[in-house]
């Protein structure tokens, strides 16, 4: 599916936001991802959807390698081939009354679309945004503008609360956890949330992104899952943490 770059700008250290216009009809839930074909790279780059509407999508990505570095050079008007609507996404269950959303680094973007969906349903989520340092912080204002309750923390204390994303969790009142971020962070928030149910979104090195290659398989307590197809969102309690 062809998309056009509308905007591609730096919003924090090594972090860029790209707005693309194109057919978004396959996107059904926050937490799904797209897989971008880049000129000169064989495999696509899977990136979570931050926000979408009928005209296009917003993605936020961090430059970590050659592919994402090439992405940062894309200009307004350039075309990109995307596979959209990939992955299961978050399930906004009806019984949830006070969701807590916890994001770490570039795990933050899909939580924006999720917060937006909760607010559409008349539920104000609490959002914890965890970063390493002040120059990596992004989207605090955007979450506030949605009407979410926002807590920002940095590991070095250079902005917001000093500590990890788990630090502010203890004093909070919530009945459901949604999280996205690096695996050590997910494991920490899984533990910190105790018996409270939740859904965690995982990252993985993928081949195809749509379930064909078995490259991103993982074992869970229930079954083998492909992170790209039966994930990237997993239920708390089914995850088999590496020992």
């Amino acid at each position: 599916m062809q998309f056009l770059v509308e905007q591609n700008e730096k919003i924090a250290r090594d972090v860029y936001r790209m707005r693309l216009s194109g057919d978004t009809s396959a996107i059904a839930r926050p937490g799904q991802f797209v897989n971008l074909m880049l000129d000169g790279f064989y495999l696509r780059r899977p990136i979570s959807v931050c926000d979408w509407d009928a005209q296009g999508i917003t993605i936020i990505y961090k430059v970590v390698g050659k592919g994402t570095a090439a992405m940062a050079h894309y200009q307004k008007g350039q075309a990109l081939d995307l596979l959209t609507g990939l992955g299961n996404g978050y399930n906004l269950k009806k019984e949830i009354k006070s969701p807590l959303l916890v994001g770490g680094g570039v795990g933050v973007p899909p939580l924006y679309g999720l917060a937006k969906e909760w607010i559409k349903r008349g539920i104000v989520p609490t959002v914890i945004l965890g970063f390493n340092a002040q120059d990596e912080v992004f989207y605090e204002q955007e979450f506030l503008a949605l009407g979410a309750k926002v807590i920002v923390c940095t590991a070095d204390g250079s902005y917001g609360l000093k500590g990890f994303a788990t630090t502010p969790m203890q004093g909070l009142d919530y009945d459901y956890l949604f999280a996205c971020g690096p695996e050590p962070m997910l494991r920490a928030v899984d533990k910190a949330s105790g018996d409270i149910p939740g859904q965690l979104s995982f990252e993985s090195r993928m081949g195809c992104g749509f379930g064909a290659c078995m490259g991103c398989s993982c074992q869970t307590l229930t079954m083998n899952k492909r992170i790209c197809l039966e994930g990237p969102v997993m239920r708390k309690g089914e995850i088999l943490w590496p020992t």
Binding site: F41, D81, C208, F210, A212, C216
Partner: protein, 304 residues
């Protein structure tokens, strides 16, 4: 009208395009993108006697014009495949399929082949003696002419359908292995499986693949595959399914000129789920551009 039909050991194919084993599952993931009945056949995910999770992740690494995989034959096991996957596949694809079989012992190959041979929707058995990503099986059978012949003979003895032996390129003389398979009764050969490769992450100084090494596929291996299909075509009389980096209608024609009767498309499916569909759609005009009216006429037609 361009004639795309070919015949593989008595199995007529509407066109020579077959998605390669391990890149297409049992079809379901692709049926979301297009109607599978346009395909010549489908070589389904490599099946073993017991269910396998495969190797630890990461199992995928990228490289210039290709990729490495070290999936390690993840599959639900032959019993589950027969009971669940094949009936589901029959709803999505209404032509004979190719059953891809792997093993860790002669007995395992024989057992799986016997069970899959009995399935009505299976048209051809493809015996994979060339998986580079498993230990104590797979490729060890495919790098020695004697053991390749042993597997061929043993499988041939218990089956009724044509068997194609899938060969490894990680050998000194692939033609010698192909001849050994032919002499042992193989009805055809499939080549090439992936080439062993390795990548290292400069930041961690560790291999990108947890398995350390993996199999290289994609356009990077295409010239190697063409060369090997040519060599094998000169050495044997049985038909060849050619594969290795095929990504376009031009590549299909080139592979057939080298000696392939049909082709398999692998890594290209993972980069672009529409790859096989696009190739099939572009074949007639590409054939016309090169003055080809029937694909079966060009098999092994390279002028040396």
């Amino acid at each position: 009208m361009a004639d795309l039909r070919v015949n593989l050991c008595g199995l007529p194919l509407d066109n020579p395009i077959i998605p390669a084993s391990g890149t297409f599952g049992f079809g379901a993931e692709f049926a979301k993108w297009y109607n599978l009945d346009i395909l010549g056949s489908i070589s389904f995910k490599g099946t073993t006697m017991e269910p396998r999770f495969g190797n630890p992740t990461p199992r995928i690494a990228e490289c210039a014009s290709g990729m490495l995989n070290a999936v390690g034959l993840q599959n639900p096991g032959v019993a589950h495949v027969i009971e669940n996957e094949l009936p589901e596949m029959a709803k999505l694809f209404h032509k004979p399929v190719i059953a891809n079989i792997s093993g860790f012992s002669l007995e395992e190959y024989v057992h799986c082949a016997q069970l899959l041979d009995a399935q009505a929707q299976v048209g051809i058995l493809e015996i994979n003696i060339s998986c580079p990503n498993v230990h104590g099986g797979g490729m060890t059978f495919g790098t020695d002419p004697k053991s390749a012949a042993q597997v061929t003979e043993a499988v041939k003895r218990v089956t009724t359908k044509p068997i194609f032996i899938k060969l490894s390129p990680n050998v000194t003389d692939i033609a010698q292995i192909a001849r050994a398979c032919e002499d042992a009764g193989a009805d055809g050969v499939s080549l090439i499986n992936t080439l062993q490769g390795m990548r290292i992450d400069l930041r961690t100084k560790r291999p990108i693949l947890k398995n350390v090494m993996g199999g290289l596929s994609g356009p990077a291996v295409f010239p190697v595959a063409v060369r090997m299909v040519h060599q094998v075509h000169q050495a044997v009389k049985i038909p060849i399914i050619g594969m290795g980096g095929i990504s376009s209608a031009e590549d299909v024609i080139e592979m057939m000129l080298a000696g392939a009767t049909a082709v398999q498309v692998g890594a290209a499916n993972l980069r672009d789920p529409y790859a096989c569909k696009t190739i099939i759609e572009q074949l007639p005009e590409t054939m016309e551009r090169y003055g080809i009216s029937s694909l079966k006429d060009i098999i092994g037609g390279v002028q040396i």
